[in-house]
């Protein structure tokens, strides 16, 4: 975790007042870019990552040595074509891939742990806005992201209405539902119940709440898939055995799969970051920032919106995405919407779902041609 090598960092000098009231300054934002910024600087796409993502969108992630989280969608000739566009992605503040977060040290050289300020989606996008100045980009061509990335997309365009020509929130919501909060709370409780968590000071105690974090990941992972997808992939298939063992080993493939997902996650993710980022998601309620009127969040925006949902996504279901479409239509905004047929659940936006990828590509390329 957090190997300094291969991580590009921007130190933000400007103070940033957080929603919690605290102000941070001279803090790092870790980012990565793909493709080339053209001379007119009008081909930049800012990608926002989801809960467990990072700035390494595509290709091999140099820290984990695994494929980037959005490799299906981003790359040469792909939906977000890096031959054409300059893609920027940064690790959210509160994260654990180089941006300012709970594993960083405070002024007294003590690791923050839970003394790190609670951050919000609003804080995340305000921090990332500094990347535009850094690259000298006056207006982005597009902003996009799925899940929590989509929340950042919505918050970003609301905060900076004239800073992107197109806006593509995917499989997201404008307000975290009670069910969303419930699942996040389950994950946080799993982490804090691990005796190795030590009130968040596990690093100085030389421990790691890996078991709790793995359980959090396992529970969350189920919410990213659909019942049908799980049934088709695993059913009741047994894991490398002929019959049930009458014990509590992983008899079923699905158990083994979840355990594996949990264990690999622990190697790359910080438990406190998981607490902070899920909290930011739970606090997200864009309409509330505008006295309950979501349309107000999008006033004075000239950008072209394209919203995408998936049929089997029960975490951020179509209706929640449609609510954003409705809010935009009610103020006459330019908004397109499509619900993609897929049985891969919420994770559909990360996977090889051809209808999704072609819709995304067509929307971006056609909008870019009209530029």
């Amino acid at each position: 975790m957090n190997t300094e090598k291969n991580i590009k960092t921007l130190i933000v000098k400007k103070p940033l007042k957080l929603d919690c009231g605290k102000t941070i300054k001279d803090f790092p934002i870790a980012y990565e870019t793909y493709g080339l910024l053209n001379s007119k600087k009008d081909n930049a796409i800012l990608v926002f990552h989801a809960l467990t993502g990072d700035q390494f969108v595509t290709g091999i992630n140099p820290v984990t040595n695994k494929e980037g989280w959005w490799s299906y969608a981003v790359g040469p000739d792909k939906a977000i074509d890096t031959n054409k566009y300059f893609v920027i992605c940064s690790n959210v503040i509160g994260g654990c891939m180089g941006s300012y977060g709970p594993s960083h040290k405070d002024r007294d050289q003590k690791i923050f742990g839970t003394n790190f300020p609670v951050i919000t989606i609003n804080d995340m996008v305000n921090a990332q806005y500094n990347l535009l100045d850094h690259f000298g980009i006056d207006k982005l061509f597009s902003i996009t992201g799925g899940s929590m990335g989509g929340m950042q997309v919505l918050q970003f365009i609301s905060n900076f209405p004239d800073k992107s020509k197109t806006v593509v929130p995917i499989a997201t919501t404008s307000s975290h539902s009670a069910q969303n909060i419930a699942f996040n709370e389950l994950g946080r409780q799993a982490i804090t119940a691990d005796s190795n968590w030590k009130d968040g000071n596990y690093t100085s105690n030389d421990t790691n709440p890996g078991k709790g974090l793995a359980v959090a990941r396992m529970a969350a992972h189920i919410t990213y898939l659909s019942k049908k997808g799980l049934q088709e992939k695993f059913g009741r298939k047994l894991q490398e055995r002929e019959d049930l063992k009458f014990g509590f080993d992983a008899d079923f493939q699905i158990e083994s799969y979840l355990r594996y997902q949990g264990s690999v996650f622990v190697d790359r993710f910080d438990a406190n970051s998981y607490l902070y980022i899920t909290r930011a998601m739970d606090y997200f309620d864009l309409a509330k920032q505008f006295n309950g009127n979501l349309s107000e969040a999008f006033k004075n925006i000239n950008a072209k919106f394209f919203i995408i949902s998936f049929t089997s996504d029960w975490l951020y279901p179509t209706q929640e995405n449609k609510d954003i479409v409705i809010a935009l239509n009610s103020i006459g905004a330019d908004v397109g919407f499509v619900e993609i047929e897929s049985d891969k659940g919420h994770d559909s936006f990360l996977l090889d779902v051809p209808d999704f990828l072609s819709a995304l590509k067509n929307f971006l390329d056609k909008s870019y041609e009209e530029n």
């Binding site: 072209k304 394209f306 479409v325 409705i326 239509n329 009610s330 103020i331 006459g332 330019d334 908004v335 397109g336 919407f337 499509v338 619900e339 993609i340 047929e341 209808d355 072609s358 819709a359 067509n362 929307f363 056609k366 909008s367 041609e369 009209e370």
Partner: protein
């Protein structure tokens, strides 16, 4: 592009904001956008057709006119187009009212069940009419509320809807419909095109 679309396009002034309800693959939308500088949106129920629209660079919302028109504010479009689908709704009157609420004007086209070929088909063959504009069999047609040009003409009048222009279309020929020629047009046109307002 089919003649119906050309006639519809001729009814629409340049530089306006238009919603095409049931826009299908976006052929008419694309024409209006490219040739009349129309700020065009589409509403379409079929996922495949929505994808075709996106591939043409058109702004389209996947949705159902009976449920999804209500999200648009009053008079938020200069024109709302509904081509040959009014008869397929469960409640055509409700949809028509929504079109007239959302649009300053609405352009509605209807396949004419009073067309002589339709009448003859039923009269002579005694089976449900199948024609170029009504290509489906009785058991698989999406049409629930077929009407004639005369029916629609009387209907809009009775609802105090203003008819700006009504056209009868037969193959390549379009002609004006009025009270005095209604009977003839109802016999010889296979499609009626109405520009209306409320």
């Amino acid at each position: 592009m089919k003649n119906e679309f050309q006639v519809i396009a001729d009814l629409i002034k340049k530089d306006k904001k238009v919603l095409d309800v049931g826009c299908a693959d976006g052929t008419l939308m694309k024409f209006l956008k490219d040739n009349k500088n129309i700020n065009i949106r589409g509403l379409e129920i079929s996922k495949e057709k929505v994808q075709e629209c996106i591939a043409k660079g058109l702004t389209v919302i996947e949705g159902n006119a009976e449920k999804d028109l209500k999200q648009f504010p009053d008079k938020s479009f200069d024109y709302v187009i509904l081509s040959q689908t009014l008869q397929a709704f469960l409640n055509p009157e409700l949809v028509l009212n929504e079109l007239l609420r959302v649009g300053k004007k609405a352009i509605v086209t209807i396949p004419n069940f009073g067309y002589w070929k339709v009448r003859f088909h039923l009269l002579l063959k005694g089976t449900m009419p199948v024609t170029k504009t009504l290509p489906d069999e009785w058991y698989n047609t999406p049409n629930l509320h077929m009407c004639t040009i005369k029916d629609f003409f009387h209907f809009v009048k009775s609802k105090d809807i203003k008819i700006f222009k009504s056209l009868a279309l037969n193959n390549l020929n379009s002609s004006i419909i009025n009270e005095s020629n209604l009977g003839v047009k109802n016999l010889f046109a296979d499609l009626g095109i109405f520009l209306i307002e409320k």
